[in-house]
Symmetry: C2
Subunit: 340 residues, 2 copies
């Protein structure tokens, strides 16, 4: 029986769903993976609750997200809120993604690697900033970094590259990696809407954020394809290397032109080999009917790997949901434990 | 640096493609997986060539498949053909699938497990006969059995269940797991052909065998869904537990009826929970347009997992090809080496 001490940084909806899953799956971990998982610390903006023998998840999972839940747990267990101390076996990083600086995730991840911890990251910022550097530090320490939750969550992307295509040569990766922009394009096509109307519909349905720039301008997709390329294709690229174009200039006339040709517009993130190096881009493309990505509708996502040995492999699914992201973090953790 | 001694049993097109891949990927294994792979023995119907320091793949990969290649290698290296001795670290089982008795694969696998070897099986027969028993023996020995090559080859099926859905609850698996019957159904639909004409077309294109019973009567799909259920859902079922119906009674009128409803006929292999147990079946189903399996055309395959935590995940690809099956065996081997 192994024991793993987990620190969760960031206690929003995903962090809370993760605690919920660990609570519900305790028996599974014991029986199937012979591992006792203890969440020893949860870090929020208000501070950290820490218990060296593991927090009581039967209490914690009933409390709200964020600082309120953390504070309530501390007062129920008579604990003092501490300043974050990253120590244990696995860091599960769930703070909000910060593309500009990568913080506070970057500091948490670096501290965790210093303490020889494995990393499961749901947030993208720190990885977008310096995944190759972090992977090198981890390698030197004999630690691992997994980040399915940061690259389309419940849709298997990293796993397919790492496990299902192990040993095969990946020639290109093409993905619909952002559910919001795909919802907007699907609505424009199926409802004959302008971009502005479709965006409004997405906002009314809680799919697009009030400031939708990250999604519609292609930056979110760019972050994900960058992480997939640096992780799976062993490139050492930065966000500046990604040629990015969004969907905000697509018109009703464009949509009609696609329909006449039996095509559909999709925001495609691509990593493909050109001569000896990989080039990365995000741009709207008219997808022809024979490309399986044409069938990815609404907030769903999809990824298409072209390989030398296994032909084309396409995976579709993973509509955005905090539980999906938490489940992605859970599978990363299981795969870490297995690989030891 | 690890060293792994591999025995390959069965030297048809897949066995030969596997040798070809190992030869071409030698550097990859050394660099990325820190493992030196040595094929110490290859077993064909004529006997075994064996060299304890590893066969010379630069010679072997240039020779033909089967007994001819094995005999030529033996005579070039002045070796005596031996009777099969299964010893080493990993058995890669590539003999033709024998549904009736599972032999000779079953004997090879049992001998390999006795010798504490891990198993990578491309052939289905032995596993269909007694996968749960073999898994139990392997567990007792601390060995592993992988068999992606036996469950739709290049299409990720087992991997998705094992790695991408690790920790999630699989509610059902539905798959188009047989490329030949899917080619026939696609041809009937797209070419307005009778079943007989479409079968003839498949035979003329080398897709259906002269005796197509295994494919069109649903037995091949039944074997695959049985292996997926016993492996991923921890059932202990046999082929008798699978309710099997083939595609040979589908008429042009059936196809028309589907089209009127925007549906397509597909031969669907299903494992789904009913009350507390899983039931297994193979039967032609009219797939509605919102089901992603409707887009699996020709010799392609597809699999759809319904899960509690991650929603629906669908993977499509893996058109039948010996290289795809060999690449599936190679990835299994890499994942074995990593899991140690």
């Amino acid at each position: 029986m192994k024991q793993k001490r987990i620190i969760v940084t960031g206690y929003g909806t995903v962090g809370k769903e993760f605690i919920e899953l660990l609570y519900r799956k305790k028996e599974l971990f014991l029986k199937q993976y012979h591992t006792e998982l203890m969440v020893t610390g949860v870090v929020g903006s208000v501070g950290m609750v820490y218990e060296s023998e593991g927090l009581d998840l039967s209490i914690l999972h009933q409390l709200p997200t964020g600082s309120i839940g953390i504070s309530q747990y501390a007062s129920m267990k008579d604990l003092v809120l501490e300043s974050p101390a990253i120590k244990g076996d696995i860091l599960v990083e769930c703070t909000p993604t910060n593309i500009e600086t990568g913080e506070p995730a970057l500091s948490y991840i670096k501290k965790a690697l210093e303490a020889n911890m494995d990393i499961v990251s749901v947030s993208k910022g720190a990885l977008v900033h310096c995944l190759p550097e972090l992977l090198a530090i981890a390698k030197g320490k004999g630690c691992h970094i997994k980040y399915s939750g940061a690259t389309a969550a419940a849709l298997p992307t990293l796993d397919i590259g790492e496990f299902s295509l192990a040993g095969s040569t990946i020639q290109s990766i093409k993905g619909i990696l952002n559910g919001t922009s795909n919802f907007i394009l699907t609505s424009m096509s199926e409802g004959n809407l302008t971009f502005e109307k479709a965006l409004q519909l997405a906002q009314e349905n809680g799919i697009a954020e009030k400031n939708p720039e990250l999604d519609i301008k292609g930056l979110d997709s760019a972050c994900k394809i960058l992480l997939l390329a640096n992780g799976l294709l062993h490139t050492n690229l930065t966000l500046e290397d990604v040629d990015i174009d969004g969907i905000d200039k697509i018109t009703k006339a464009d949509i009609q032109r696609a329909k006449i040709n039996s095509c559909e517009w999709k925001l495609i993130a691509t990593a493909k080999k050109q001569r000896d190096k990989f080039i990365l881009q995000v741009k709207p493309e008219m997808i022809p009917p024979e490309n399986p990505l044409i069938h990815v509708k609404g907030t769903n996502k999809g990824i298409l790997f072209e390989t030398e040995e296994m032909g084309a492999i396409c995976c579709v699914g993973g509509a955005s949901h905090p539980r999906g992201a938490a489940a992605a973090a859970m599978k990363d953790m299981i795969n870490l434990i297995r690989q030891e």
